[in-house]
């Protein structure tokens, strides 16, 4: 049979986001695949050089749409390292709260998005409605559902609103009652097992070769390689949590790890609310003067956080002026989304291509930037 060229994306229901994979298939088997990024390329790294240090706050969340907070966090961490700022204690805890809520939201969503490639839309419908309740929390906290622009260099933008802790705990309790249902519907489903078990493998060698991080790395190597543990930021060294790991990385294992991480995040959220100082400032200015003239001392620094997909980093260069000199973004899904697709998508069936994209955690906006 002849080799046929197929486009998986950019407009294909199996593709999350605006991304494209060109596949050469023989029958149902993919012989060769080429990632084609750039559909979401906006030239962020250039635009950031043209905005004020504070003005970039509006830009950065848009680099990773499903989980914007990590951008804010990593940018803030970088700027703080350059400027030598000590963030107020309370801000650290609020940041952790935001990051963990975001992690819950994005894991819940990715749990539901398994419904896309496998066709179990009920799971998608449930999960996204569930995630929406967390977006309500974000709206209460920061004034926006998706782009919170809440974590700023120097701290967080505003203090928690009244009664917020109570609302968070309520939603967490509700989520905990609903999660087992997701487990029943998705993780125990025989057809999901048929699709995901022993499929879409990620061996440990490939992890090291590509530089895959996050759930992918932990599911394959059995190492608790989580930046929150290995190189703690904020106050992650003061909360107790486990990093779920596995040594056999198929799609189902990765799904299970995400599911267990949700529980860990819920536990972190509870600890954060318990241990957070009641009072105190929530931010300090980056430098004297108003935000139009904030400057950051010259220097180069790389800051990284653990996103839901792995190590997410910014390399920030300042020349001491009111705008960054250069910012380079390391998208967490860069290794698997480009080289991974080129090298390791082949051999799978067309049916698995979108499942591959989904469970490997490929997020197109952060690759394209």
């Amino acid at each position: 049979m002849n080799e046929v060229k197929l486009f998986l994306g950019p407009q294909h229901p199996g593709m999350h986001g605006n991304y494209s994979v060109h596949m050469y298939v023989d029958g149902d088997i993919i012989n060769k695949s080429r990632p084609t990024p750039g559909f979401l390329h906006r030239g962020f790294e250039k635009l950031m050089e043209r905005r004020l240090w504070m003005g970039n706050l509006a830009l950065i969340p848009r680099i990773c749409v499903p989980e914007p907070d990590i951008n804010e966090m990593v940018y803030a961490m970088g700027v703080e390292a350059l400027a030598g700022i000590d963030v107020p204690e309370k801000a650290h805890w609020i940041r952790m709260l935001v990051l963990e809520l975001a992690r819950i939201a994005v894991h819940t969503m990715s749990l539901g998005f398994i419904g896309g490639p496998t066709g179990m839309y009920t799971a998608t419908y449930w999960a996204i409605a569930q995630r929406d309740l967390i977006l309500d929390l974000f709206e209460e906290l920061s004034g926006a559902r998706i782009y919170h622009m809440y974590i700023i260099p120097g701290g967080v933008r505003k203090d928690l609103p009244d009664g917020f802790a109570g609302h968070v705990l309520e939603k967490m309790a509700e989520l905990e009652t609903k999660l087992p249902e997701f487990g029943e519907l998705i993780l125990k489903h025989p057809v999901i097992h048929a699709r995901a078990k022993d499929n879409i493998m990620l061996p440990a060698e490939v992890v090291w070769e590509l530089g895959v991080t996050g759930v992918g790395m932990r599911s394959a190597t059995g190492l608790a390689n989580d930046l929150r543990k290995v190189k703690p930021y904020a106050r992650y060294d003061e909360v107790e949590f486990e990093v779920p790991v596995a040594v056999y990385s198929d799609a189902l294992t990765r799904l299970n790890l995400k599911f267990r991480e949700i529980y860990q995040s819920i536990s972190i959220v509870r600890q954060v609310l318990e241990k957070m100082p009641a009072d105190g400032p929530v931010n300090v200015p980056v430098s004297p003067g108003n935000a139009l003239r904030w400057t950051v001392p010259a220097g180069m620094v790389y800051a990284a956080v653990e996103s839901s997909r792995g190590e997410y980093g910014y390399f920030i260069v300042s020349d001491g002026r009111e705008k960054p000199y250069r910012i380079a973004v390391r998208g967490a899904s860069y290794p698997q989304g480009l080289l991974g697709i080129e090298k390791y998508l082949k051999g799978y069936r067309i049916d698995d291509a979108s499942l591959w994209m989904d469970t490997m955690g490929v997020c197109s906006p952060e690759i394209d930037r």
């Binding site: 390329h41 635009l47 998706i146």
Partner: protein, 183 residues
């Protein structure tokens, strides 16, 4: 874009528009970051299907093209291609700031500023990005416009094809990329 607002539809067209209005299928294409608010709109919390709307996998089946935010030139080429594959009557909805005037990417070398230079936009929804309620209200408004025969962008596109084509070529150089494999 100046549209002829006079209602000169035949009764058959009015009936047709009634059906069109109550069954608007959208092209499921996430062109930009506004797409992140589409899943909540489609799924259980806001349940777009109540309006008779649903996502469709291919442009042939779709009635409305949602431009969910900024468009890079690379995407715009595919969007125009998709739009031309859609069957009339077809509608375009622009989401958020980026489609109106470039949004936060107004000075980007990779994204366009005004969507209506390249495609006829029937409705814009404000926000960055619009929240699901705004999207739902936008759709309700679109439905109303179709019912009243006001959503006539596709006619405008047919009638001013040359103008659109010229804009597309001016900004994109080439609209249909023959070899996009980069091989």
């Amino acid at each position: 874009m100046v549209l002829d607002e006079k209602d000169n539809r035949s009764p058959w067209e009015k009936i047709g528009d009634y059906f069109s209005a109550n069954s608007v299928w959208m092209k499921w294409y996430c062109t930009g970051c506004g797409a992140i608010e589409m899943p909540p709109t489609m799924t259980s919390r806001f349940d777009m299907e109540r309006l008779g709307m649903g996502p469709m996998a291919t442009p042939r089946q779709a009635d409305v093209l949602l431009i969910t935010g900024y468009l890079s030139t690379k995407t715009l080429r595919r969007v125009i291609y998709s739009y031309e594959q859609m069957n009339s009557p077809r509608y375009v909805v622009g989401f958020g700031s980026c489609t109106v005037n470039g949004g936060i990417y107004y000075d980007s070398y990779a994204t366009i500023n005004r969507l209506d230079m390249y495609l006829p936009v029937d409705l814009y929804i404000a926000g960055c990005m619009p929240r699901p309620e705004a999207i739902m209200n936008g759709f309700a408004k679109l439905i109303d416009m179709i019912k009243k025969g006001e959503a006539r962008g596709w006619r405008h596109y047919q009638e001013n094809y040359e103008w659109y084509k010229k804009n597309q070529l001016d900004s994109l150089g080439e609209v249909i990329i023959k070899d996009e494999f980069h091989e």
